[in-house]
Amino acid sequence: MYAQMVKSEATKDDPEQLAAFQARIDAGEKIEPKDWMPEGYRKTLIRQVGQHAHSEIVGQLPEGNWITRAPTLERKANLLAKVQDEAGHGLYLYCAAETLGVSRDEMTQMLLDGRMKYSSIFNYPTLTWADMGAVGWLVDGAAIMNQVPLQRTSYGPYARAMVRVCKEESFHQRQGFHIMMAMVKGTAEQKRMAQDALNRFWYPALMMFGPSDKDSVHSSQSMAWKIKMNTNDELRQKFVDETVPQAEYLGLTIPDEDLTWNEENGQYDFTEPDWNEFFDVISGNGPCNVDRLSARQKAWDDGAWVRDAMNAHAEKKAARKLAAE
């Protein structure tokens, strides 16, 4: 998902302490920043929450691309509100990660030099306005599927951040679907654009849940610690089952010839995405990896004087206040 391929870190802690910690988690207690926690739990969470935060921030870029070109003022206001929410979600999550003992600047640096990742989905381009529909509908739809259970995750600050995110996020998916509804009711060309957007985003959206369970070696520890609540395949299946009828409603075709309803187990059988493409994109070779990171690097560099000026101003004001006392 937003935390694809997060490796659970090994832990070398005292077995008794580890068992007591696991018992707290099994009893449904929340772990809070000052509580004892295994080093592996702390490190895995920093990676996971940090990657989640980076995804929210980098995720603003493909949509920001269309703000000035939205077809109506209302659509523009909607999209602007959504992108502003993503910034907020990134901030909630960065703060949650910071309670684990990593600084905001360290996380930013790790994103910029490639030590931390963000979701593979944001390395695909948004070529037409219909992509804004597909991104809201599919990408936010997939994100919600992962984030709703994370509201029950064992780490208190992460769970609380997810509660806020989920409360705000459902408008994102609905505004995307709303765009798709308008496109499919439009001209033949507009409907074709909607279908094209679905064609391009379907498999990348399926990849958001991460590799198949049989290839996902890091899941079991994270699930025991309740920082991952469902397996990748469970969530992917749920996403397909919910999305197919929505595509039917729109009169669009899921780009999968083998998609069939399986009467026996009451779910859809579908084609797995191309995992080679996934590993290629996540290791830096997607269509937009270079653009996304250079946009973040530019924002960081261009903002440096603002960050410094704000500090200098605050120090000067504090000194003046002290002198007046």
């Binding site: 809070e32 000052k34 509580d35 509100a81 502003q84 929410d85 907020g88 901030l91 909630y92 703060c95 910071e98 600084s103 905001r104 600047d105 640096q109 609380r160 951040a161 806020r164 705000e168 440096a304 960050r307 410094d308 704000m310 500090n311 101003h313 605050a314 004001k317 504090a318």
Partner: protein
């Protein structure tokens, strides 16, 4: 790398007469800046009518290891709750 803006904790009072409630944290250069950021980050949907901010390092918190001595003494004092006192039904609502 230049110095990070300090961390602030944000408290918001909603519209229904409740007290201020902790909603999260953010970075800002000073208090005024923190209030502005809090408005953008935590009140995008009419969540509040009043914002408090305080620098995180100025907060003193109880320690989780003192949970026992801090809170256990309250546990056996059930007589602090109204249900401890049995009042006969014929007395009526009390």
């Amino acid at each position: 790398m230049s110095k990070e803006w300090p961390l602030w904790e944000v408290f918001i009072r909603g519209q229904h007469g409740m007290s201020h409630r902790h909603v999260g944290s953010l970075h800002a250069a000073d208090a005024e800046h923190a209030v502005k950021n809090a408005r953008d980050v935590y009140t995008r949907r009419n969540e509040g009518v009043s914002i408090w901010v305080i620098e995180a390092e100025k907060i003193t918190a109880s320690s989780p290891s003192e949970k026992g001595p801090m809170y256990d003494p309250a546990r056996d004092k059930v007589y602090r709750h109204p249900t401890f006192y049995d009042i006969p039904d014929e007395v009526g609502k009390m």
